[in-house]
Amino acid sequence: MTALRIANKPELLARTLTMLSETVERYDLFADQMEVVNNPQAAEIFRWLEQKQRERTQVVQDLSEGLALPHIPPWDYHWDDAINIEVPGHASAHYMMTPYHTLTLAIDVEQSAADLFDNIERDTELPEVRKLAHGFAREANAFCDYLKQKREHYPLPQAGWDEDEDPPQFLE
């Protein structure tokens, strides 16, 4: 979505809603995964992130009230699932990830979302799109800063954090 020209306010709202709702689903999925692999610390943070994103989604839904939002097919969203841009990729989770990793993942998502809205704000000639994109960028930046502060409470993972003494590769 980086070199994106937004046609109007409903299009920006539609894209933002899709981005947020997919992020909610992804954090929910990651929380489930971490519960299954008995990583309760990461699961708890993903649940918290899911709830935060759900609240933000509701705000955008309220902003969309009364507007006819366009349907945009999935292939017109150009985010890449492989890296953390705008929506966290499925491959971002690791069963041994620490709270530090979990928050870093979320920081990357927020940072790329903020960059995206900054670009939209810069490129648009429509005042209402510019104003909305500015607000979304400011909000993403603020949440990003908050996540960085929260991450300071957790230690930087040691080298070898993903070394498993009971690895799944077991053929006998």
Binding site: H71, P73, P74, W75, A82, H90, E172
Partner: protein
């Protein structure tokens, strides 16, 4: 922007069942599940008019996670079950799914003949070049020098199977490759595959992060094929024979008519069907 559907009546997550997937964190199959639901949403398919048949293996768990009719078949036998279903219920949208071991080894013969028969359905093979559910043995698509399995400590030394080439030679009417690293692009490929008449084969690259962690690098290797889909089998053959396994998109769109035999009888009661099997 190209619309498959101006306004889907169901959102992608409404095609999911309440069952939570138990794949490993980071597994590509999560993303494939998302792509399938996005494609069904874009095509505005009613869940009760869709059936997904799978084989055995990690990826074959898919039917449990979807809110459409599902059949978790025997190992390698997704295609004959799906073929029978589509032939007897041509009104349904029939999808078959599984992994590379299920589809190309245990079910390899069924794969060829399903391509040859050209029944109107879509077969999605999530290829991770390993038997993941049985803890990491070489599969038909594994490179000959992969030596991480204790069963093949020096590698298999056997050339891998080239599913797209086999599909073309056997008569598949639509051949494409997609990647779990790009679920939105994969959704587009699936929409095209489901819409295309006849047997559609989608080779879905889906990394196994547990037994083939090096496959995380696939995200850097996949790229859109720099060609348009061709209807010429000879052009497609050259294209697929020189393919490096990482070109994404629709590579061949044939124009053979789908096979659909005339249904000779209709059965109103199960007891009538049973009559034919009484010895």
């Amino acid at each position: 922007m190209e619309n498959a559907n101006s306004c889907p009546s169901l959102k992608p997550n409404e095609y999911k069942s309440g069952t939570k997937p138990v794949w490993c964190p980071g597994c590509g199959d999560y993303s494939v599940l998302l792509s399938i639901t996005k494609a069904m949403s874009e095509l505005n398919l009613e869940p009760e008019n869709v059936a997904l048949v799978s084989g055995i293996g990690c990826s074959s768990r898919l039917p449990a996670y979807l809110n459409v009719y599902g059949f978790h078949a025997v190992h390698g036998r997704a295609l004959p079950v799906a073929t029978g279903l589509k032939v007897s219920r041509p009104d349904l949208t029939v999808l078959a799914a599984g992994g590379d071991g299920d589809g190309f080894s245990i079910g390899g013969n069924h794969f060829m003949h399903a391509c040859r028969r050209n029944v109107d359905m879509t077969y999605i093979v999530m290829d991770n070049q390993v038997y993941g559910m049985t803890k990491g043995q070489a599969s038909p698509t594994t490179d000959p020098d992969w030596d991480k399995s204790k069963l093949t400590p020096d590698g298999t030394k056997i050339n891998p199977y080239y599913p797209l080439v086999i599909a073309l030679a056997s008569g598949a009417n639509f051949i494409a490759r997609a990647s779990s690293t790009d679920p939105n692009g994969a959704a587009k490929v699936l929409v095209d595959a489901i819409r295309h008449p006849g047997f559609s084969f989608v080779h879905m690259l889906s990394p196994c992060v547990t037994f083939r962690p090096e496959q995380k690098e696939w995200k850097k290797m996949v790229r859109p094929a720099p060609v348009e889909p061709t209807t010429d089998a000879a052009v497609a053959a050259k294209r697929l024979m020189t393919d490096d396994n990482f070109f994404l998109g629709t590579l061949y769109k044939g124009n053979r008519p789908a096979y659909q035999p005339e249904l000779k009888s209709t059965v109103e009661h199960l007891s009538e069907l049973e009559q034919g099997f009484i010895l």
